[in-house]
Amino acid sequence: MDLRTLLQPATQLLAPLRHLSSSSSSSSVLLPLIATRGHKTTARTKRSLKMAPHDSFLPSRSAAFPAADQIIYNPPASEASPEHTPFLFLPRNDPRRLAIMRLRNTSQLSTSASSSAGADAAAGDGELPPEMRYKRRQPKYNLTKEHIDEMRRLRAEDPLTWSVQRLARKFECSTVFVQMAAPAPEEHLRWLRAKMERKKERWGPIRTAAREDRKRRAEMLYRGEL
């Protein structure tokens, strides 16, 4: 079975070549561009699939042959348990906090003794993985009472042109803030809701089911079942 799947692309590759060779009847065209050896026999396939185990699975060879018994501990990758409280969440009088602080102090002393102080300072933020880009709260506090009054006036005047997005762009604040500070008039909200209802009515069974499934998946995620 494995062999057949491996061989299939090879035969497909060969098919146009055969056609080409039959038409031109010159044997020089058949030479492949890159000379690589395929898994054309069982022996080669088996040899290519044979991989050495990772070092952590092998017994230590540091000592001579009749070495002491050794435990190979190599658990599979798994989620961290929530029972392991991170350092920051430990209360002040918890003995684990003191132990971790003592451990960090000793390791810091040893590293600073071995390496220079400049390298230690440079390794501050560089060791952390890269930040993700996502929408998050970045408070600016740039709006005054006049701004908010202006925002409300615009929204009440013409909620269609002065949408939440546009107001947020104009006043350089988040859309959530606009929705809180200058909510739309009731009739506009009703109109929007009716528009949404009309849109939903046009959805077919597939889209409706997909939306419901997405909602259900989100609930499962929040229950920790996903």
Binding site: P86, L128, E131
Partner: protein, 387 residues
């Protein structure tokens, strides 16, 4: 100081039953003149009965087996031995623990009083254990954890593992070692204890928050209503009947053997069961909740960092996202999309906060009641939930 030992007072419950001949305020008259018990009916009572009802037909059959037959029941003796109960607990008390109010409505003969006593003891010990073991659990989770340990369904499982079996139908001729219960039509649940809101009594609408559950409602945070007694399903009635057996046995142990024995029994039969509280959580906005937690505690705002990823352009990518506050890592989660992984990491960090535990060998307040206990050190007390 000398301790009072109720266990030395022999046969307390049996003595209490002597008053059965005297009509109590709560019992109907027709039930009050029942003379079912061993030989404890006062002579005056029997003489009045004889004089009034010498020519009347024989009395109707009892709703539950007589306690006279308790020492002859092999099932009762086996249950007594299986639970390795003390010899101070008579078989008659164990037989009474198996008679539920649905079989015999007379509170002098059923297990309602013992079950209530037992339920308070169970809930007390489970609560103090939960609060000391996981001091940061939110109130809603605490209620569910209590229900998982001491709720009717869990107690039913315990009773079934003890080998308690239900009689097909309760009656006088049944073996007293069988659980006497029936799912009656007009059975009204009268074993709920709690306060009733005045708004509920008047039938007004109100917002029922968690503080109302803490102050007013039953031990499990369930609402108690007097106006319309709830109609339970068959399964709920069954688990209530089986659960009342466990509660009544613990009540009997407390009555006959004392506080320490009851605590040891609760510890070995109820608190020994395994519960994973991390399964009880359901979040709504985990990222926002975590940000509010960090703001409240004075930590740096949480930032999601991509620790590793595989197969970004494939059909099944996996991203591992870690949440960091400053340089400290709070939690980690893996998901099929960046957003899902971030939310899972937030939930993992929140669970790590809520499931903080001082250790597996926490001391509970009732440990101080033992003689020669070490001086008390205050447990960790959390300032409360994130609102």
């Amino acid at each position: 100081m000398k301790r009072i030992r109720p266990s030395r007072w022999s046969g307390q419950l049996l003595q209490a039953r002597r008053g059965a001949g005297i009509p109590a305020a709560r019992t109907p008259l027709c039930l009050a003149i029942r003379c079912q018990s061993t030989s404890s009916v006062p002579a005056s009572d029997s003489s009045t009965l004889d004089s009034s009802s010498s020519a009347s037909p024989p009395p109707p059959p009892l709703p539950a087996p007589s306690f006279d037959r308790a020492p002859q029941s092999a099932k009762l003796a086996a249950l007594h031995a299986r639970l390795s109960l003390s010899k101070k607990i008579p078989l008659q008390t164990l037989a009474r623990a198996l008679v539920t109010p649905s079989a015999d409505a007379n509170p002098n003969f059923n297990n309602a009083n013992l079950a209530y006593l037992g339920s308070t003891i169970i809930n007390f010990h489970v609560y103090e254990y939960l609060v000391c073991k996981w001091p940061r659990l939110p109130m809603a989770i605490l209620y569910e954890a209590l229900r998982a340990y001491a709720g009717d369904e869990s107690l039913q499982q315990i009773a079934r593992r003890w080998g308690v079996e239900a009689a097909a139908a309760p009656g006088e001729e049944v073996d007293p070692g069988l659980l006497q219960w029936k799912a009656g039509e007009g059975h009204v649940v009268n074993t709920r204890w709690g306060y009733i809101r005045s708004e509920a009594a008047k039938g007004k609408a109100w917002r029922r928050g968690l503080s109302s559950r803490v102050v007013l409602d039953s031990d499990f945070g369930d609402q108690v209503s007097s106006s319309d007694p709830e109609r339970l399903e068959y399964n709920a009635l069954q688990s209530e009947a089986f659960g009342s057996v466990v509660q009544a046995v613990i009540g009997a142990i407390y009555t006959h053997c004392g506080r320490d024995e009851a605590k040891a029994f609760v510890k070995s039969h109820i608190l020994s069961r395994e519960l994973d509280p991390s399964k009880l959580f359901q979040f709504k906005l985990p990222t926002r909740e975590l940000a509010m937690l960090c703001a409240r505690e004075g930590f740096e705002p949480p930032i999601a960092r991509l620790e590793s990823e595989t197969g970004r352009l494939s059909r099944t990518p996996v991203y591992v996202v870690g949440i960091y506050s400053g340089k400290e890592k709070l939690g980690e989660g893996a998901g099929a999309s960046l957003d899902v992984a971030r939310r899972k990491a937030s939930m993992a960090s929140l669970k790590a906060w809520y499931l903080y535990s001082p250790g597996n060998k926490v001391r509970v307040p009732s440990d101080m009641m033992e003689q020669g206990a070490k001086p008390w050190t205050a447990p960790h007390i959390d300032i409360g939930e994130i609102i």
